[in-house]
Each structure stands twice: as structure tokens, then as C-alpha cells.
Amino acid sequence: MAAVEGPLVPTPRWVQLAWLAPAALFAVVALGLVPEGQWSAPWVPSLLIEFALRVDGLTRLMLALISGVGTAVFFYAPGYLAGDARLPRLMALLVAFFLAMVGAVVADDPWTLLLFWEATSVLSFLLVGFDRANRAARDAARHALLITGFGGLCLIGGLLLVQLAAPGLKLSDLTHLEGAHPGALGSSLFHGGVALVVIGALTKSAQFPFHAWLPGAMTAPTPVSAYLHSATMVKLGVYLLARFDPAMDAVPWWHHTLLAVGAFTAVFASVQTLRERDLKRILAWSTVAALGTLTMLLGLSDALSGVAFTAFLLAHALYKAPLFFVAGNVDHEAGTRQIDHLRGMRKALPFTAAAAVLAGASMAGLPSSLGVVAKDAMQRAKDSVDIDWYVSATSIAVSVVAVAVAAVATLRVFFGPPNDELARSPHPQGLRMSLPPIALAVVGLLLGLWHAPIEGALLAAARSVAPFGELELEVLWPTRLDGILLAVVGGALLFWQWDRVHRWLEGFRGLDAIGPASLYERALAALKAGAGTVTRTAQHGVLGRYVAVLALAGAVWALPFLVRAPLPAAGPLSAGDAGLAAGCLAVLAGAGLAVVARDVLGRLLGAGLVGLGSAVVFLFGGAPDVAFTQLAVETVFVVVAATALARYRVASDTPPAPKWRLVAAVALGGLLGLASLVVFAAPFDPSLTNFFGAASLPEAHGRNVTNVVLVDFRAFDTLGEIAVLLLVGVAALPLLRRNTGKGAKA
């Protein structure tokens, strides 16, 4: 992935300096220059939709994450893809993604959020499929887009239902839902809507059963994996859940769903972590496990769980992003990410090794790292409420695996005797590639030792998630070390026996066969096969069969309604009826001629006679405009069709049609005849006719009502119709060109 293909291309200046944009935002957020508050502008006032923004504690934390990790990623990317002609494209997409993320976390109106939410999905698709010559990358991108796109649809439906129950709901209303929208929580619409929102959030945060796209997304370049698929975008799902948590806190299904889904995802992903050999995929699965832990924490209803949630959100980003950088640097240097071949890399990559150790310490939750703060808060949150046994068990299991993964990513890869068989990259890794992982990991460790700068921010964010009154600052100091000790010892054992455990777990092929990943594959294959079958059976290309199916289906569908409808009563004849009768006779004669004629020209003339007869009917029926048009159309049709038919050698004597066609023709004819009789029997509502008749001359200065309706009252419709006429010509005429002689113009 990191290998440079083709000639080296100088990096444009804007790409080199792009990191200044998130850095500026980070400085503004860190200095506290972003005031808390709300701001909105009207968007679709009739639907109560506003372009509304809001900043609170959680928003600030997310902004700091997005801009802080963004600075590191934007600084790293030009080094990682140095000399690659595709670098500007990567950078442009990353900048767009950065803006979309910022928009998503400051959005207050649900539809504003949705706009940016979908933008991140699309940008994720483009970034996962960045290496578009690579088939695996394209498949992974499609997988990610289908899953998150499905989630986006669920989110739209959910937000619609929620807004039906609570019109004009803003995300900031969710902290005091009962006050802002009384009764919303009692409405089943609201609960159904929130359930759909949960599905949308679970797809975004790669929770079971929608998790499979995230490990696949590791085909993306390292900066993308570090930014989108560990630190920011996948957090958007849990962020939205955190927004709904204050409102849904008292609802049992909310807890149980989040606890169950989060716990199962965490355990499932931890097991999958042990089955991987690819360093980047190991990190990806452990990210899924971390997201499961975050979901689980939201399922606990307690003030401390809010602290645990925000602390872990921050800690995870600060250790997982550097570990992805580490994986990228190792891949860049050694050309492989398989942990079987990687050892003793510290000599080649001393700075990366240091970053790995620091970030690994935080991931393992070793004392004096931000990771331990998060873990401790989690443990106490769980202690303070009555929870099911499986939540505690899950949390311990996930911690053990996290320690083992941290050890693999640091000790196994960087220490021990170097592997001399590995190729060495000819390109030395400069400041751009070694500084970002070190910087993030050091920040993560320093904040663990010295909380003061972030205490206020973390507690403010926690209050957004769990507004249960005042929290004490001491909650951030670690008090319980037994759980951490257990995790470290268990993780060390697991690391020691990693290969044996891996081989044992790898034997469980069933996990692959029943997993949602293979379900996705099978669903995709079934979709293609199903579409093929439907197309082959429905689009057989036999004209007669199309008509017969339409006729019979129409008859079966409409007959039950038609037979019960009243038929018109016979009225007295008038003078105009003679003309109508003449027209009808002509139609009948034409139809008969078309049936009995043995050659094509005779049938065509019969069809033409039907048209002329209907023109006569229109003329005496009070629609001279239609009669004119019918006459002109019929003339053109018969003459042109006759001339064109003369070109083709059409057999004069066609074999007699099969009997079923007679049945179909009689069914269709009878149906249409019956339908017209029923239509005439229905009472005619003259209000439109009267309106147009009365308004035509005074308002549109025309006496021909038909024409006035066409060009004035309904001019927009007519414009649409002639535009369709034009488009049909533009689209169809080039297709017909194939049959013409050389040099014909369009």
C-alpha cells in the first residue's frame, strides 16, 4: 500500500500545510475560545427544520479529538504517500472528511446532523476505495457503503418517526425531553424512531451484526485507518447514542439493547482479534471491541458511566491512532504487516518503537496512562450499579485481550532479534512519519499523569451524556487497581501463549461461515442471482407475451371491482349521435379488417381506420382539438409505418395465432369496454370544467379552453411533457442509428 508507484511527484504546498487547518481549530478549542451555546438559521420553516448548531461539553471533546488527531493525520499523510501522484486526492478527501466530522458533532438539528453524517459515509467509501486499482479495496469500499448507507436509511426513518412524536426536536432537547416535548417518551412512534436511530448508530460504529465492514476497511491507506476507522468516524455512532442516552435513560429496552449488543460485540471482536495475523486487522478488531465497550458503557445508567465513556473515548483515540501509525510505518519499512515475520524492528524504527511502547502502555491500562483512568472509571461505574454478570465478565475479557494486543504491537514486533529476511525500504522515514505517533502517545501518557488540563473538559462532556447533577473531580483518580492487575496478568499469559491460542481459535471455521461477513457475501451473491432470474423471466422480449400478461393481470385485478359497479342507463338519442354512430361503425370496421386481413398492409390500414373512426367520435363528442390531433397522428402513423414496413420482408401469411392469444385479447377488450361503461356511469364532477370554462377568457384571454389549459393554466405540465419528448429523442435516436446506413445524421 505504501509502496510508491511510478515517478516521484513533488508534493504541492497546500498538501504540506494542510495540517495547519485542524491545528488551528484544535488551538481554538483547547484555549476555550469556543463558547457553549446554540445557534440556528431557518432552513425549511414549514417542516420545522433548521440549520441548527450547538456546542456543549461533549461537542468540545469531539472537536478536540477530530482536530487533534486530524492534525497528526494531516501531518503524517504527506510523508506516508510522499511522491505519490494520488496524494493531493487523498488530502482533499481527508480535508472534506474533517469538515464533515466537525459539522456532524456541532449539529443540533437532526437533519443538519444527517447531512454531515451521510457525507462522512460517502467520504469513507471514497477513502476506503482510495486504491481503486485494487479489487479488494473496491469491494471493501462497497461493503462499507452498503452497510453504512443502510444505517443512514434507518437513521432517516428513525428521525422522521421521532419528529412525528416530538415536532421540531433538537438534539439539545434530549437532555430535558419531558420539559421540551411532554408526552413524547410515552409515544410508541418515538420508541420506534429511536430503535431505528440505534440501528443507524450501530452500523456506523461497526457493532454486531453490522461490524464486518470495519476490518475490511483496512485496505485503506494508514492515515485513513487511523483517522476514520479508529479515532473519529466510527465514534460518530456512539456519539449519537450518547446524545439520546439522557432521554432514554429510564427506558429498559434501551439499556438492555445497548448492554447486550455492546457486550456481545466486544467479546466477539476480541475473539476475532486473536484469530488474525495481520497487525492492522488485529488493531481493527480491537477497535471494534473498544466501540462495543463504549456502547456497553452507554447502556449503564449512572453518572460515573458518563465519565467512563468520555475518558475511554479520549483515551482510545490517543492510543489507537498512534498504533495505526505504527502499523503503517512498519508496513512501509518492512513491506509486510504479518506478525509472524515481524520482530526486532526497533533498530530500524527507533522512534516508531518508542511510540508503540508509549501507546501500548496506555492501551494496556498500565498505571500512569490515560488508559488506566478510563479503565478505573469504567470499573467503578460498573461497581456502583446493579449490572448483569456478563457485563463484568465481558469487560475483564476485553481488557485481557487489549493487554495482549498491546504487547503484540510493541514487544513482539519491535523487540527480540531482527528478522534478516525482511526487505528494508530504501526510503528513510522522516519527521512526518515518526513525529505524529510519538506526539499522540506522549499526550495520552502525560494526560494520565497530570489530569488537570482535561478534568474540566471531561467532566463537562460527561455531564452532557449523563446529566445527573454534580460530579466530584476525584473520580478521575484511580482507586481500584485489582481489576487492572488482573487484566495485565491475564494479558501477559495470553501474549505468552498467543500463537497456540491463535492456532486453536483458527480451527473454528464455523465463525467465518455463520458470521455476518459471509452473510453479506451470500446476500450480495443472492441479490445478483435473483436480479438475473427476474430479468430473464420478466424481460423475455416476446411482445405478444408481454401484452398477454398485462391484459390478464389487469383483468384479474380489476374485474372484481368492475362487476359490482353500476352501469349507465340508456338515455334518449340526439342529433349528434348519428355522427358518433358513424365514427363507432368506422372503428368496428377497422378492427374487423385488422383481424381478418391476411397481410401486414391490410392490418395497418385496418388500424388506421380505427384511428380515423375515433377522430370522428372525438369530433362529434365535443373535442375538435383532439379530433384534429388524432387525424394528424393517424395519417403520419399509417403512411410512415407503411413505407417502413415496405423495407422489411414481412411474411404476408403469418401462421394462425395460438388460442390463448384470443383469450387474452377478449379479456383485455372486455375489461376496457366494461371499464369505460363504468366510468360513464359514475357521476361527473363538473367543478373543474366549470372553472376552466369560466376563467379561460377573462384570465387567459382565450376562448379555446383546451388550448388555454395547455399553454397557460397547466403550462408547467406541458413544458415538462415537451421536455420529456426532447429527452426521449436525445436518448433513443442514437440507439436507432445502428440500423441506418452510413453517414446518417442524428
Binding site: P624, D625, A627, F628, T629, A632, V633, T635, V636, V639, V640, T643, A644, A646, R647, A700, H701, G702, R703, N704, T706, N707, V708, L710, V711, D712, A715, F716, T718, L719, I722, A723, L725, L726, V728, G729, V730, A732, L733, L736, R737, N739, T740, G741, A744, K745, A746
Partner: protein, 169 residues
């Protein structure tokens, strides 16, 4: 009075009094050579039909008629030429491609709605004016412009498809 376009470009350069009227068999679908009577009748019919198309459209606001049927009459005029003298001659009568005719029609219809926007009314609200002319004031409206747009669009698409059908072999 002979139209220069009446001469089919596929005609062999033979005797002067038969050559201009010769149409290649491939173009017409038969080896029939139109007689001078048919040719002259076609030219007259072409003009009469075009005049009828314009008249039908002009009077459409008050009497039966309008842009749609006018467009069909104009198409019949062009197709008459195509049937007698071949599609190539008919195409030359149009001067631009049928699709361009249709596009011009749609543009004209859109343009007829624009003056309303200037005066702050909804798109396609028609305005009307009276121009003094011989025989009294003539009524002119943007609705008429719209109707001629319909005429051109119908003319363009009908001739586009029919000429293509006549050219197929």
C-alpha cells in the same frame, strides 16, 4: 422556381429533364421515379401544410388548433417531402437536425415563461399585449411563444423518429 434542394444528391448526372427528379431506390424503398406532377404537388402541399400548421397554432387560443396539432401538421409537411424525394432532402429542408429543432422548441417554451419572473410573478405566467397593425390591433402574448415552442418540439421529435425509420434498411 425550382428549389435547389429538390435535387437529390444521389442522382446520376444524366439527361437534364429527368435527372433532378430521380431518387435512388434505396432512399425510397422502391425503384419508383416520382413524376413531375407528384413533385410539383409535393412542393405545393409542403407549403400549404406549413401554412396550415402556423395558422392552426395562431388561432389555437380561440378556435380548435394549437401548437401540438400545428407541430404534427408541420411534421406531415416535412414527411411528405421525405416520402416523395427521400429523407435526405427532407433533412435539408429542416436545415438543422430534428433534435436541434426540438431543443429550440423547449428553449422557446422556457423563454416564454421568463418575462413573468422579471415582474415578480410565478414562472410561466403569460402576459398579453396588443400591437397596432393593419386591420386593427393584433393580440400578441407570451402564450403564443409557448405554443410555437410546443410546435417546434413536436415537429422535431416526430420527424426525428420518422426520418430515422424511413432511413432504416
Amino acid at each position: 422556381m425550382r428549389h435547389p434542394e429538390d435535387t437529390p444528391n444521389t442522382a446520376p448526372n444524366t439527361a437534364p429533364n429527368t435527372a433532378p427528379n430521380t431518387v435512388s431506390g434505396a432512399e425510397l424503398g422502391s425503384a419508383r421515379v416520382p413524376s413531375p406532377i407528384v413533385l410539383r404537388a409535393t412542393r405545393i402541399l409542403y407549403r400549404v401544410l406549413l401554412a396550415a400548421a402556423v395558422l392552426l397554432t395562431l388561432r389555437g387560443h380561440h378556435e380548435p388548433g394549437g401548437g401540438f396539432v400545428g407541430g404534427l401538421f408541420a411534421a406531415v409537411a416535412v414527411l411528405t417531402v421525405a416520402l416523395v424525394q427521400g429523407p435526405k432532402v427532407a433533412r435539408r429542408r429542416l436545415r438543422v437536425t430534428p433534435i436541434q429543432v426540438a431543443a429550440l422548441g423547449v428553449s422557446l417554451a422556457v423563454a416564454s415563461g421568463l418575462p413573468a419572473l422579471v415582474t415578480g410573478q410565478p414562472f410561466l405566467t403569460h402576459t398579453i399585449g396588443y400591437v397596432p397593425m393593419v386591420g386593427g390591433a393584433w393580440k400578441v402574448s407570451t402564450a403564443l411563444l409557448f405554443d410555437f415552442g410546443v410546435l417546434l418540439c413536436v415537429l422535431g421529435s416526430v420527424t426525428g423518429f420518422c426520418l430515422r425509420l424511413l432511413e432504416s434498411r
